[in-house]
């Protein structure tokens, strides 16, 4: 059973028959992340892949453990956040562009944060970054908090009542707003240091977990790889 993201039909499931056999002609084409031209036949219970041809291979994403873990994360989020069969070209485009960026570049922090922010928007979970979700006031430039359960920023007065509100640095809120509003190429030029990158990741992750009401499985693997790359082999 495959999950597909299409430009005009949104997310859909389809069955691919016999792909585990070594003689299968389709199995190589249908590897995860490939962009293919597919012929789908409407079946009784599910659509079936009748034919396929690779348009764009994403083998570099499968050949490198870090890229693989990030591509799986992107795929898992796409699957969890979008409903089935809801046509949405923007979401398709976002997924395709993100996978291409993961394939072509080495620095993936901004790519992933941009993807997360935009996907949240496409999924109907756009975080509020300008007005306090508690009282509606415009957020002041001194202290900001982010309340995942509230769906966005809160002012210092409302923060204690918003369970889970954590403080948000000035730079973080600037970057988050930019991720939300500006196209990717503007965001790609941002210089983000390690501490800020970590903060952005933390806030977006907590918001996503809140929205999905569960952990994102593949995020744990990314974390583990990151942890292990900092240890010596004996410590792993």
């Amino acid at each position: 059973m495959l999950t597909l993201m299409t430009p005009s039909m949104g997310k859909l499931d389809a069955k691919a028959r016999g792909v585990r056999k070594t003689t299968s002609r389709m199995s190589g084409h249908l590897q995860p992340f490939n962009r293919c031209m597919l012929q789908l036949a409407q079946g009784r219970m599910a659509d079936v892949v009748a034919g396929c041809d690779t348009l764009e291979s994403f083998q570099p994403l499968r050949d490198d453990l870090d890229r693989l873990s990030e591509a799986v994360y992107v795929a898992e989020l796409t699957d969890r956040m979008l409903p089935e069969r809801a046509p949405n070209y923007q979401s398709y485009r976002l997924l395709l562009d993100t996978l291409r960026r993961l394939k072509e570049s080495d620095q993936h922090g901004t790519t992933l944060r941009f993807f997360e922010m935009r996907l949240l928007g496409e999924g109907g979970y756009r975080p509020e970054l300008d007005q306090c979700v508690g009282c509606g006031k415009e957020i002041e430039a001194d202290k900001h908090f982010f309340a995942p359960r509230g769906g966005g920023v809160v002012c210092p007065a409302c923060a204690p009542d918003s369970g889970g509100a954590r403080s948000l640095s000035l730079n973080a809120i600037k970057v988050l707003r930019q991720l939300q509003r500006e196209p990717y190429n503007k965001n790609a030029r941002l210089q983000i240091d390690a501490a800020l990158a970590q903060e952005l990741e933390r806030h977006l992750r907590s918001y996503i977990v809140c929205v999905l009401e569960r952990d994102v499985n593949s995020a744990a693997f990314i974390d583990q790889l990151r942890r292990e790359s900092q240890l010596t082999p004996a410590e792993v």
Partner: protein, 213 residues
């Protein structure tokens, strides 16, 4: 499955329910199996029940290679004629069956009991990886063959193990990938073809002058 029918006796319904839990068994198959068992002689039904219980009680994991076995260590690990310097790492016990059938491999095995599947939340700590690393301390292991499946999860697992084992200075090899027997170059995808080209082997002439092929 619904419990609407009082038309079906409770023990029978329970049996159907149990069969339905098994992989590849849908509601119709579960019913067919249950009704077949009804018609079986009692002795045969007992034998089936006893075999199920026995498997759970007597089959354990080999403490060395993690394969399913009755004796611990298993037959392969206890076999002194095997090459103990080579370990072939596979995903599941059935993979060992397939490899042993070829009679082409004389080293030892190791079963991970799964693959790294980040989306399903299956990480390295859920597999028998620690047990594999333990083996490097004891035996003199010179080569580890990564024989996980050539799919996304199998590759991820192979890459992860490569990261772990490379610093230990042990030779790491991966099963060859490329065109399968009976395959078709015209229909093959780019990556498979690329790999097949990269992994090409020199051919030797066979025949009349007595040289081996």
């Amino acid at each position: 499955m619904n419990e609407s029918s009082s038309a079906i006796a409770a023990p029978l319904a329970r049996l159907v329910e149990e069969f339905y839990k098994l992989p590849g068994i849908g509601p119709k198959s579960a019913q067919r199996l249950a009704y077949y068992l009804l018609r079986m002689p009692p002795a045969e039904a007992q034998a089936l029940a006893a075999a199920i219980i026995e498997v759970k009680e007597r089959v354990v994991l080999c403490s060395i290679c993690q394969n399913v076995t009755e004796a611990d260590p298993c037959r392969v690990c206890s076999d002194v004629t095997r090459d103990r310097t080579v370990i072939c790492v596979v995903e599941e016990p059935l993979d060992i069956l397939a490899i042993e059938r070829t009679h082409a491999f004389r080293g030892l095995h190791h079963v991970l009991h799964g693959t790294i599947s980040p989306m399903d939340g299956i990480g390295p700590e859920d597999l028998k990886i620690r047990e594999l690393l333990e083996r490097f301390r004891g035996d003199d292991v010179r080569e580890v063959i990564l024989a996980t499946n050539p799919n996304l999860e199998g590759e991820a697992t192979a890459m992860y193990l490569t990261r772990l084992i490379t610093p230990l200075g042990i030779k790491l090899t991966r099963l060859a990938r490329g065109l399968p027997a009976g395959g078709d170059i015209e229909y093959a995808d780019d990556d498979t073809l690329t790999r097949a080209l990269e992994g090409r082997q020199e051919v030797q002439q066979d025949g009349a002058d007595g040289r081996e092929s």
